[in-house]
Assembly symmetry: C2
Homo-oligomer: 327 residues x 2
């Protein structure tokens, strides 16, 4: 089942179910108006949405309409929790190496997770307002899951059972604000503006065999200004699977329904796969040529992030955003 | 006006208005069932709650009942944003000094703010389950505000206008998990379990003259196992007022209605005022005696946090919690 949230002028939008091929959609009116409602009461509401989805996929839904990703807010336009991991250690290693720092051995067993802001997400096609291009504007293409309730102390395999939906994320980062901010010791804040998510969130069964061991074994594609810069395998090099990331999060507290957990920038050791964020490209240049040559994003720059299933069709729809000066 | 959220078995509880003296309460049914609803539509709903409050304060509300803080969830049982500052630099300086580190000059102009988890708050009288007493269990007595929408780029004085409600917070911290976590560079996560809030959240006018320049000029009292350990002035030594903290937060993103912003541990230079967290007491011992002698909290330990108005009455009701082993 694929779910999206249509813009209607309200803070939380209107829940729609979307057909498997992303061609048509149908309002979930009568079942639920908002996605958070469904997550709060998953066992009761999700089978009803599944029934509607089946009817829609069969072309028999009465009030189906063409699905338009530009009408979408983030599947959860605001959430009670956004915790983003950094599960692809190649990314961590690369970025550190470029600044002459080793990755600590402990990172192999203890995942990096930062607490993100979750009150103001961007829709998949929303412009990205940034007050200054001097801040080092960068995209980060990621996979994210939305969970149900996961109790404190859950093991990785228990935690994995809490995964309700998957989506893509663009975890916008202002690179030049990062060093001073991390030096203060309290983690990211101003360096992480609003995150964007894919048009639809999908249940794990939509991925078939590609969802295995808490990882998505598909290719994440990123195109910057129309040029494909990343064709990165999301499965094999994810050092911590989603169950492990969630278990890390619930060590000292509960995770509640509607929590979003991110994978961090999807990254491959083999550089021929390209990159899912500009920082990696610059890190490689630094290591190989002594200086970073690729500039960060400018006003008017576009980024497209998408993942195709084994059948060649887009699973989540595309994130397609433009960096703009604030109005 | 004073607002609270009564436990009813649901995730968001039931909104009640509470009398000025915290003696009686009245369900807000017919106006709004949840506090987030009110924050989403403040200009329309808050005058109606104000009318009900006036009737309640006059003793004329028909279905008033005795107010019981033990029935309360956090005013917002879950929120879309919890950003906690560290606005009392004496606290920062002290804790750093104890470990032989200077406070950087830049901290005087650039506030520390960390992103907290907001999907699972504790009510004012809820037990605090912690899996191990070896984690260094500590309370942190703070003031927090709940905001309306504050746009990206707002100035401190504009940001201050976004303050809708004030409350107290107990920002539980697992001290022994902090050093390793901060060394990873991504900020707090496991070291910050669920935060608790006071029984009621109040509009700024309830504070009268004590709310001035974005600061609360009243005394925050903390009692640990029944012994008063802190009688700390919250006003004069708050280096960044709430407008400045919020302006810091909105440098690169919008803040949305229902966001909670904390002051950080309330702290005074004059140690005779005591402390609002054990870490400060231990820091002083370290500086003066070469070693920390006061142990952190044990199972069964209690903490009571309260603030009295100039009339001697409790403004927010008391946070009264017990540390327990998880069930």
């Amino acid at each position: 089942m694929k779910l999206a949230t249509y813009k209607d002028g309200s803070r939380d939008g209107q829940l729609v179910v979307v057909s498997r091929d992303l061609a048509t959609a149908h309002y979930a009116t009568g079942i639920a108006t908002r996605l958070q409602q469904v997550l709060d009461d998953w066992n009761f509401l999700s089978p009803q949405l599944q029934d509607l989805t089946t009817t829609l996929n069969q072309g028999k839904a009465r009030h189906a309409f063409p699905f338009d990703p530009a009408m979408c807010m983030a599947p959860l336009p605001r959430a009670y929790q956004w915790a983003d991991g950094s599960a692809y250690l190649n990314h961590v290693e690369l970025v550190r190496k470029a600044r002459g720092a080793e990755m600590p051995e402990s990172f192999l067993g203890d995942p990096l997770v930062y607490q993100g802001g979750s009150d103001d997400f961007l829709g998949p096609c929303d412009d990205v307002p940034v007050a200054s291009v001097d801040w080092g504007i960068d995209f980060e293409a990621e996979i994210a899951v939305i969970t149900g309730d996961v109790p404190m102390g859950a093991t990785p395999s228990q935690a994995l059972e809490g995964v309700r939906l998957l989506m893509l994320a663009n975890d916008w980062t202002l690179r030049h604000l990062v060093p001073a901010e991390l030096a203060k010791g309290f983690g990211f804040f101003q360096s992480k503006p609003a995150t964007a998510f894919s048009p639809v969130a999908v249940t794990p069964d939509e991925l078939g065999d590609a969802w295995k061991g808490g990882r998505v074994h598909l290719t994440l594609q990123s195109s910057w200004n129309g040029r494909k810069v990343g064709v990165v395998e999301a499965g094999p090099e994810m050092n911590f699977h989603f169950g492990q990331l969630i278990a890390h999060i619930v060590k000292t507290r509960h995770l509640r329904a509607g929590a979003i957990v991110g994978s961090g920038t999807v990254s491959n050791k083999d550089a021929s796969h390209g990159y899912s964020c500009i920082a990696e490209k610059r890190a490689l240049e630094m290591i190989e040529q002594g200086e970073a040559k690729t500039a960060f994003m400018q006003y008017g720059d576009t980024i497209r992030i998408e993942m195709k299933g084994r059948d060649g069709h887009s699973v989540f729809g595309a994130i397609e955003q433009t960096v703009v000066e604030p109005a």
